[in-house]
Symmetry: D2
């Protein structure tokens, strides 16, 4: 069974449902969801890792390396789209009291002020909670702003959809399991690692980036997180193109292991967008293998 | 008059008090404090920018570049130290009900469980609010966990101090004013900038870092923030050693201006720790000036 | 009056004649030609600097920096083409004794063995000297392999032309004057410099190359020469695209001046092939000027 | 039997004698000596590769890669020291006619003009040939300037030694054999390679140097040589610290093989000065092996 960062009816739940239709366990925090993977309570968990508006999800970046090793085995990208949901029979022109989470209210502010200029917006603990409350027949709220999955879950009617002001926002989720076999290469893969910088070394981040550059491995995300020990002490959470079994990625990982005091491999997995990387001259597996064969042949000369 | 991210009695307030004894205006959010600077309601504002445990303060990093230009003119580093404060006459062995903010409760968990094993801890909206509540003669709470400044403000007695589990945590604050003259060089200065990466360019972050490295300018902080347009689109908030009027910093800024689609200069100001940078061979003002003179002399040859 | 590395009738002489029809002074060595410029005996001198087969002309690379400053003000590229020249009336089928310089004999070996299989080839001190000898009515040699300019000079008949085995070989010459005003920019310019490496510094050459790379200045030639002090101690003779008055070149020169113990500017001058460089994003004069204006504006804020 | 670039009595001969006391074969050119190795006429040959005053020996750099593979198996560094040698019974004050090679005359010019102000210096084809001529009882020359080995060989008396003006000059020789087993690691080794640059690629040399830098391999010599195809087309002859069997060198060679159109491995061999390299953090064999083990363990996770 899988777990996820709940409650039901959130975008994380929606991400989970793209992976499985089976029952899943909601956890109250990312930490609890990942701890449940570590302790074997669940086989894996779906948690948010990056939001196109808010950035990296700090709790996930920190918790992924906060205990026994875990592996990301899949990524899921979900558009952040909100709708207005009400009990059956409610017409949009009747909506006076809207309930939703503060983030959702902020992201739909313009739409609400134009479409429902006289409505009062009240904040709830989560958008899914707002939907649950509105579903109650004696609720004093007429409608909830929430994800479609929450509207459906509580049997509400969709009065409007895609009401977010900033179209195109997405959130990226990952399915995380215990450290285990790496999923097979697909040719359109991504690898997630965490690298700590040497404290005593001014050009440490430059040195980390050169490990990738000299082997032709492009980065698709890099984020800093404090190590919690001192101001200015950071680790970097990095996504790069390619798979552990791509020779250029394997050699990059070796290079990072040598120049960083600590490196974590958090998994290689198919890219959600299925985009294949362009591999520059000198960086294909064939070229790596030919180079290794050549150097080996030098040692075997008689 | 200065403003600050309130309420009174927080660490931000404590940071403010290291700068001025005069009356200051508390704002409910970083955004409101900085907007008050922009609109001229206050002459400047003190806001948190970086915490050794939590990392960069996202709201500050984002809001500093979200409107008309602002300048950091000072940094203040404050140890994050908590105490236990009660009404006069309360003895520590009498404390049964403790009120504090959730973060503070978390950071003092061990101390509380050892020292006050039978006390109940209740969460308030802020540590300063907890102190205010405890100060009320008819409060049902016996003591507050808060900053010393809050304890003093509400006339409470300090029952214990430095009760945080993780000694050495600090928060860094900045005093921000409208864009104006840069404070004079002290020889131990820091410069804060924001650089956006070119979207179409794999080695863009490497290119940014090389602008610093080739001129011998060390970084003391680098943090990524999403540009809010797409997954993987980031800008970088960077502190480097040196002052706008140091030649190596000025040329680095020029280089960034050329290779980045957008660069913001957020100020040069004295380092709180007064540490002077080591300047490598080739990077002093004298060497920059000699180099410029030489090149100019080549053009003037008759 | 100009000087050149003689004697008359060589490729250097041919290069000189593309520059002037006036009388010029031949010198017996590159050193003597350049010393004559330094002492004012001649206004300038034409000397070879690079051969596509033999590489840099060491004597020129060394002598350019061996005394008071000189400037390259022009480059001339001459194809290395040989012909077979004889006294009037000699037919090619009558040629039995050929006189030429060893280098020329080597470069025409195949042609000679195929066309004149029974001829004897004798070595002379220079191809021009060979032509002079052949021109003498009582010479025992039937023909000379030499440059066309030598054949013409001594009134010889051209029996064959472009008889060199390796078509496409060229030699590059420079016209050198006393250090003076730099020729105006043409947009298709080249700059020649000499940079010494810091002895104590493993990555010194890398550091030199980064000065160019970070400002988008491409190299068209780099050659090492010993400093004559110790094994492994080198200086580098470098041609790069662009002109002293291009902002990216001027800043690169400043950077070199700072990181190298010694840098010589040997001139900016039009490229013989008139090819204009591609200027990458961030490296145009406009972008340099905009960057400098921006940084200046930061210092002038009120 | 070994061969060498002759004639007998030169510094090359002196270098050879540090390796073997057995009879050896002198060749008239570096090419002939190396071709004799290739064809099996000799087991190996000693040739000069680098002179602290004149730089790389072009003929050797070019010929090493001009046919079937060869390997450098030893380096020998010989001080360039000249003496004045005469027939027995000649006193220094009687010397009127000196015979020597032009290079030697140039390098001893000051000493000759001070010590023998009235002597006439005549040029011979080689310093060893000068010694042979002087050894003849009826020679019209009183003394030769040559290497000690030549003086001894022809039974001459040493009238003076170390008469060169520029003390400390050395020449480096290599013993070259057919490509075969690499000599064992000593911990103080040197590796010689030749790397060709990609023609279409502005930063090609920078890319080559980064292959070394990113693996902590220092260069002790880099020289450019023309590929003989076009102006500005170069290959690089490079000596680096370390041995083929050092993991950092092996990975560097692989990197060069991938980014260069052509790479030649010319051997790993003990450094003449027995200096051991400083190996930076992350670059030891242990660190390379640990990194490889770690990456392998990731693939084997169950």
């Amino acid at each position: 069974m899988l777990g996820y960062f709940g409650p039901a009816g959130t975008f994380t739940h929606q991400a989970l449902r793209t992976v499985t239709d089976e029952e899943a366990l909601a956890f109250a925090s990312v930490r609890e969801a990942l701890d449940a993977v570590r302790s074997g309570v669940v086989d894996g968990a779906v948690v948010p890792i990056e939001n196109s508006v808010e950035g990296g999800v700090s709790a996930t970046l920190d918790e992924l390396i906060a205990g026994s090793p875990l592996s990301i085995r899949r990524e899921i990208v979900i558009p952040v789209e909100f709708g207005l949901y009400a009990r059956e029979g409610t017409r949009i022109e009747d909506v006076r009291n809207v309930l939703t989470h503060g983030h959702a209210a902020a992201q739909c502010r313009n739409w609400l002020s134009v479409t429902l200029p006289e409505a009062t917006v009240t904040e709830a603990g989560s958008t899914a909670g707002a939907a649950a409350e509105v579903a109650s027949p004696d609720s004093r709220f007429d409608a909830a702003v929430c994800a479609r999955v929450a509207g459906e879950m509580y049997g509400l009617t969709e009065l409007a959809y895609q009401i977010e002001d900033n179209a195109g926002a997405v959130t990226r989720f990952v399915e995380v399991g215990p450290a285990g076999p790496v999923p097979p290469q697909t040719g359109a893969d991504k690898t997630t690692i965490v690298a700590f910088m040497r404290q005593d070394h001014a050009g440490a981040l430059l040195e980390i980036l050169e490990q990738f550059a000299v082997r032709g491995v492009n980065l698709s995300r890099i984020e800093s997180r404090p190590t919690k020990t001192a101001l200015g002490s950071y680790f970097f959470s990095i996504d790069c193109e390619g798979h552990l079994h791509d020779r250029r990625v394997a050699e990059t990982l070796q290079g990072l292991h040598r120049v960083c005091p600590q490196v974590y491999f958090l998994g290689s997995y198919p890219r959600a967008n299925q985009r294949r990387p362009e591999i520059g001259i000198g960086f294909s597996d064939q070229e790596f293998d030919a180079a290794a064969s050549w150097v080996n042949s030098l040692s075997r000369r008689r």
